[in-house]
Amino acid sequence: MRSKQISHRRTVRWMRNVLLLIATMAAISPDTLHAQHRSRVSLECLQLGNQEVELTALVRARIGRSYVPMAGLKVDYFVARDSIEEVRIGSAETDERGFASIRYMMDGTSLTYAFRASFAGNDTISDDDATTSVVPAVLTIEQAEDDSLNHQFNVLIQGWTADGYVPVEDVPVEVFVRRMLSDLKVFTGTTDADGRLLAQVPGDLPGDANETLDIVARVTEHDTYGSLSASILKTPRTQPIHHDRPERALWTDAAPLWMLITFFVLMGTVWGHYLYILLQLVGIKSDTRKLQQQSVNE
């Protein structure tokens, strides 16, 4: 059903392109040549647990030889549950990096969800859409007993079936520690027959600015489940020693004390003497005045 819709859309687009080509060949307006840039939409589905998913679309347009992320474009999202007819679930506008995302609650009964993100196109950028299909699944991460070198965590993956959630074997999982600018991958592994995995995080890793380790387990674009993610906070064993900024150094705002003392002593001495000399100059004047007064009195 949905694929039919898409193929219909494709036909329309193809026909329009042919028309455009003819129009161009007829040289009606050379400007139309550059009027539209081909767009490319990609879509990723991340399952957050609790039946919630986050759909993130990236919209880029071809400029020159490369695809450039486009900001401020409206993306519509659709879902088709268990091959039931597609419904629109919302829309979002792309940010400056070209991303647009919405959240969606799964109903907890359907077995598969086919998502579609669509950009309708405008005067300058052509339309495009992207699809992805997932089966509900849950990724959990829990504290396990640490060993002498590592923090350890139990990771469990369960997928939705007609019998409810069951552990899933052989899913590649990556474990990251969140850092300021990007995440540090510390562990990769695959779930066992019980859907479990013991993940290790180096114990000597310092915490972040909040003095915590924010640990994230991820499954990336699994064929069946899409992307999964779960995180846990942990107190780090080590924390960087913050060497306090010296209060007074050559490069700080405030000067070293010896410098201040030297300055005041030197300047005080010299200007003190200047003051004394100035007083002498005043004295010269008053000496004469006294002399004159004396002579007047006499």
Partner: protein
């Protein structure tokens, strides 16, 4: 106030200079004003179009302005140290030319800092030096030291002038304009040559003479530390302080000899500034040349012997005749060896030769200052690989020349004007021979 016979006689000789300005002097002053105006044009261009009109660029961030600055502050040593030392040692023969020396000090200390201001990109923000001061910066040290030094040398000059002003005020030999006489009266502070007043002046001068020497040393050391405190070859040297101090006293003495010679001729002071004076100052020049030469030798020998890579980059430039070789040779031959020879050979030890060699030496020392600044800045640690030729080699532009000439003209003009206002020989101190 009772005025000594000798002072009146002396004043009679100076009276024409103080009373009116001759045609030659007028032309001279007009010429200087013209040069200053030329400097003004340069300044206008520099303020309007930014420092791009100078030869300075990102590598050579300082050029002849800084060389001029060091040069003038160096000259200012003439008064400070020479008058200070000679006063303390109670050297009698200092008296005829001590005022000249002190005038040089004050005027050069006023003109010198102008050149550092010309290096400043935002003159409109100069007050930031006061509202956001940082004591760690050698520039702050410089501002403090130079202003203190200027006040000290003005005081020293003025203290010695008070008695002269009193004489100018009370004498009937001098027929000067009313405003001048009024000014003399104010500046004389009612001085009546009372024993008490005499004592006040004596203590003050004694104090200042003691203070001005360390002050001058501090000023020039601090100046050298602008360079010495950086991590640059040819600058980052522990002897830079004393080296600059020595060079300063040396060039100051040279300028003093030139001034003595000029004023001796213009004002016919052969009677007061005698050949003997030239001989004595010549001996000082010889000693200073030797000291300065020793420092120079020590500085270059050390870095050449160590042959550290970055250091050698600068030395290679100085020793290579395709770059600064000729200038380096001139700076050292004309700046050290020539004066020594002239003073050492009795037949050459004459006022004329001494003044001539001093002039050459002073020029050589200016070149030397240039050689301290520019080759170092042209030798960065990281290769330039620069496509813009004006960024690679420093070339002095007409704006910089105009302001340099303007500064020199200001120095000469202030000197000329000062000599129209006060006698260049202290009339109160000299006892005219019968």
């Amino acid at each position: 106030m009772r005025i000594a016979e000798s002072s009146i006689a002396l004043l009679r000789e100076f009276a024409p200079q103080l009373e009116r300005t001759s045609l030659a002097a007028r032309i001279w002053i007009a010429f200087l004003v013209l040069l200053i105006l030329f400097g003004g044009v340069g300044l206008y261009f520099q303020v309007k179009y930014g420092h791009a009109v100078t030869g300075m660029r990102d590598h050579v961030v300082w050029g002849i302005y800084i060389a001029n600055f060091i040069f003038f502050i160096g000259i200012s040593y003439a008064g400070a140290v020479i008058s200070g030392i000679l006063h303390l040692l109670k050297v009698e023969w200092r008296k005829p030319f001590i005022r000249l020396a002190e005038l040089i000090t004050v005027i050069a200390t006023i003109v010198g800092p102008v050149f550092i201001l010309l290096c400043v990109g935002r003159l409109d923000r100069l007050h930031h030096l006061i509202i956001y001061p940082r004591l760690q910066s050698p520039i702050t040290w410089d501002v403090l030291a130079i202003s203190t030094y200027l006040v000290g040398s003005i005081l020293l000059l003025y203290l010695a002038l008070i008695r002269d002003f009193a004489i100018y005020r009370d004498t009937d030999v001098l027929k000067v304009a009313k405003w001048k006489r009024k000014l003399y009266r104010i500046l004389a502070l009612g001085y009546q040559d009372l024993p008490r007043q005499r004592l006040r002046i004596k203590t003050s001068i004694d104090l200042l003479a003691v203070m001005i020497i360390p002050l001058a040393i501090v000023v020039h050391s601090v100046l050298s530390w602008i360079f010495g405190m950086t991590l640059r070859p040819g600058w980052h040297s522990t002897i830079f302080g004393p080296y600059f101090v020595m060079a300063a006293i040396y060039s100051g003495t040279g300028v003093l000899i030139i001034a003595m010679w000029i004023f001796r001729r213009i004002y016919n002071l052969q009677e007061y500034i005698t050949e003997k004076h030239f001989t004595y100052v010549g001996y000082m020049l010889l000693a200073l040349a030797a000291g300065y030469g020793y420092f120079t030798f020590s500085e270059y020998l050390t870095s050449w012997y160590g042959s550290e890579h970055w250091e050698s980059q600068v030395l290679d430039k100085l020793f290579s005749f395709s770059e600064y070789g000729a200038a380096f040779l001139f700076a050292n031959v004309a700046g050290i060896i020539l004066p020594i020879i002239v003073v050492a050979v009795r037949r050459l030890r004459k006022p004329g030769y001494l003044a001539l060699v001093s002039a050459i030496m002073v020029l050589a020392l200016w070149v030397k200052r240039y050689l301290i600044i520019v080759p170092t800045l042209e030798s960065p640690l990281i290769p330039m690989q620069e496509t813009r030729p004006e960024y690679v080699d420093y070339a002095i532009t007409w704006v910089e020349w105009s302001l340099t000439l303007g500064g020199l003209a200001t120095f000469l003009l202030l000197f000329t004007l000062a000599s129209k206002f006060v006698t260049v020989v202290p009339v109160s101190e000299i006892l005219k021979k019968p």
